[in-house]
């Protein structure tokens, strides 16, 4: 009798599991969110002729890093757990040289550290919450200049010694606008030289802001929009990444609009991007219809778009993830492509 009971329970349980699975399948096939993801009817990738060959690799203690600069074999990267930027020595000995960030800079507010493209010996340290940007010589621990914004800013790209292209808080709350700003002396001596008519909703339309010659590109992280702006920050054209994802994640305001948060954690569509010559390279997180699942989930996928041809998709590079780990950052400089993983930095040569 007991055997019968056990078997009956097992069969009932299996039937319930089948019902739940069927329901999940039906829900996936019919729900509007999934439809929104595939509004364009899915997409297909094609492999590009570009190839990557490993040039160097560096071991790191497991952590969270972002690449700051790479110049003639000298890699500088930020260690988020420490108050320092780290450099690998130029002698390729792979020994680590810590470069402490000057104590006057509020480390907890650092949004991003980038190489200074006007003076290569300096680094730009952006502290968005403080609305400050520091130009620092990390090797001598010397602060060369402090730029003080009079409003929230982020993703600053240095154009000259005193001008930056960046996203600034828009006229309406929760909006950001690309702008070019000029600095004088002191916090209030900032002049907005140009402001884009493009309004981006904070968080929902978060993305990456990069420069291509005189143009600027804003690539959304959560859908397929690729805004290409001219030197006046007017919209030149709206390109699309190939993933066909149109929806934007929804946010909710809490505590009298002082806190905004996502209703549900959104899935990143475009994780990283960079401009290489006239090509925009985008690290996509979305599987195409013709991607083999087994290959796709083990690969870093880099989609390429021709910026001279209206942002047209030209092909994809697939390269194996190191130990299946997720990428933390990518960086391009002088024919070298750098991949940062939690415990490894890989430097690839790129060839056509």
């Amino acid at each position: 009798m007991k055997t019968k009971n056990g078997s009956v329970l097992l069969l009932i349980g299996i039937a319930i599991v089948c019902l739940i699975t069927g329901f999940l399948y039906y829900h996936f096939k019919t729900n509007k969110l999934a439809e929104g993801f595939f509004k364009g009817g899915g997409f297909r990738r094609s492999r590009t002729a570009w190839t990557l060959s490993l040039n160097k690799d560096y071991d790191l203690p497991k952590g969270a890093y972002s690449i700051v600069a790479y110049d003639q074999g000298d890699v500088l990267f930020r260690d988020y757990s420490k108050k320092e930027v780290i450099s690998f020595n130029r002698d390729y000995s792979k020994s680590i040289l810590p470069l402490p960030i000057p104590g006057t800079i509020p480390v907890s507010n650092i949004f991003r550290i980038t190489g200074n493209n006007v003076n290569p010996s300096l680094f730009d340290i952006q502290c968005s919450n403080n609305s400050e940007l520091f130009a620092v010589d990390l090797r001598n621990r010397r602060t060369a200049a402090v730029y003080q914004f009079n409003r929230y800013f982020e993703k600053a790209i240095r154009l000259t010694d005193s001008t930056f292209a960046c996203l600034i808080g828009g006229d309406k709350q929760d909006l950001m606008q690309p702008a070019i700003v000029l600095f004088g002396h002191g916090r209030d001596s900032i002049t907005i030289l140009k402001k884009s008519p493009l309004n981006l909703v904070m968080m929902s339309e978060d993305g990456m802001f990069v420069r291509h010659g005189e143009e600027f590109i804003y690539l959304s992280s959560y859908n397929h929009n690729m805004y290409v702006l001219d030197s006046n920050l007017d919209k030149k054209y709206l390109g699309k990444t190939i993933d066909t994802i149109t929806i934007l994640p929804k946010t909710v305001s809490l505590k009298n609009n002082t806190i905004t948060k996502f209703i549900k954690q959104p899935q990143v569509v475009n994780q990283f991007c960079m401009v290489v010559g006239d090509t925009l390279i985008v690290n996509s997180k979305v599987r195409a219809d013709n991607d083999d699942p087994e290959v796709f989930w083990k690969s870093v996928v880099l989609d390429m778009y021709d910026l001279k041809n209206g942002g047209k998709y030209t092909g994809t590079i697939y390269t194996d993830k190191y130990k299946g780990e997720e990428l933390q950052d990518i960086y391009w400089r002088n024919g070298k492509l750098l991949f940062m993983y939690p415990d490894k930095l890989l430097v690839y040569d790129v060839s056509l």
Binding site: M1, K2, T3, G6, S7, L9, L10, G13, I14, I16, V17, I20, T21, L24, Y25, H27, F28, N31, K32, L33, A34, F37, F38, D243, K264, Q265, P266, Q267, K285, V286, R287, P293, E294, W297, K298, G324
Partner: protein
């Protein structure tokens, strides 16, 4: 001269087998017990991340993912509790098998249909590849089913 083997009780070999069998069963029981305890603890400790990864899944859009997350954790903690008592262990193995069957079905669905693969397993299990994940689940499904039938048989013998 009496043979050496004649000194050995006639049921020695079957007893030895039974002891070995019993050790193996105890070992498998411990594996299942600690798997769910570990999984439940890691999910509870990273509850925010767990719910975030459920949020990212297109299979749970429009669903209350906090409720789903809490239910999964509750089920995972229920299994070691059920296994702890002799009288409820049978239901523990059954729940273990069904939960793993559901997880595996979900992984296969996600692997084949979803454009994203958010993993919500937590801890060391999250480090497995998707293929390894499926094999891992199948192995534990087999263990759970074996223990379930073993327990069920014992109950029948007792009755």
């Amino acid at each position: 001269m009496a043979s050496f083997y004649s000194c050995i009780p006639t049921n020695f070999w079957s007893m030895t087998f039974r002891y070995k069998h019993s050790y193996a069963i105890t070992f498998l029981q411990c594996l299942v017990f600690f798997l769910y305890l570990y999984s439940g603890i890691t999910k509870t400790m990273g509850f925010g991340l767990f719910v975030n990864s459920l949020d990212k899944s297109l299979f749970f859009s429009d669903f209350n993912t906090k409720f789903i997350g809490t239910s999964v954790i509750a089920a995972e903690f229920a299994i070691p509790v059920l296994l702890f008592f002799e009288s409820t262990a049978l239901y523990g193995y059954l729940l273990s098998f069904l939960l793993l069957l559901l997880f595996t079905a979900y992984i296969v669905l996600m692997f084949q249909l979803s454009p994203f693969l958010p993993c919500s397993c937590g801890g060391l299990i999250e480090a497995l590849s998707w293929r390894q994940h499926i094999f891992f689940n199948l192995a534990f499904m087999g263990i759970s089913l074996l223990l379930f039938f073993n327990k069920n048989k014992k109950k029948m013998v007792v009755q």
